[in-house]
Subunit: 149 residues, 2 copies
Amino acid sequence: MAKFILTFTIILMSLFPASSQESNSVPELIIGMEKAALERWNQGDPSGFLEISADDVVYFDPFTEHRLDGISALTNLYEGIRGKVHVDKYEMINPRVHATENMAALTYNLVSFSGENTFRWNCTEVFRLDGGNWKIVQTHWSLTKPELK
Amino acid sequence: MAKFILTFTIILMSLFPASSQESNSVPELIIGMEKAALERWNQGDPSGFLEISADDVVYFDPFTEHRLDGISALTNLYEGIRGKVHVDKYEMINPRVHATENMAALTYNLVSFSGENTFRWNCTEVFRLDGGNWKIVQTHWSLTKPELK
């Protein structure tokens, strides 16, 4: 009987390999990584994002003249604002992950509360599986419905 | 000798399989698809983008309250502006594609010239290979350095 159960288990494992379990957990993993980095960011520490960004990361935000290319450019930008961001509370609204085996796109709306101010953001992060670790290869921050001059 | 050449060719083919050739051409393919859709868009025709967007596409632009989810929501938005966009000339600046086998992220800056007006954009498109066809699963348009109130 034990042998039968073992055989049955092996058959089940071959029908539902680890990759299937992993693919189920990718959205949770990606969202968890983003939240952890965001919570450090909200306390003025950009290293959370830098540590999970790939060397060839590209980056957009509403304050840069054009896309930034590469981890050095992003590091320069982030080091310039280290210690200057203070967010009291945030809401990650409706995070969604489109995932394939080696790449995943996370999108969400973000609301950041800082003192009397509320900031609303659109965010897209693209992650790539590099040597077993998910790394950000693209970050795009923009303001939700900005009030234009 | 013929046999030697054949063997050598087979070894070469195994060293540089078709997937390697395909991955070289993915950026060109993706950029070409985007330009073709953009050129229709610039003449007021959103169908170019709709035809290459997946059912589960998600979408950000600076005028929506939050992320739009799904091809129906995107179709509703685009049909509302059909015939209303007229761009005389555009420049796709520094397009770059981060590609894996089944997913690719295209980023670029866009300048659109419309009469006396010039509009500057940040753009991220995420494509996924669905049944042999690349489809957009995520579009993020934002204004480059918008002048805020």
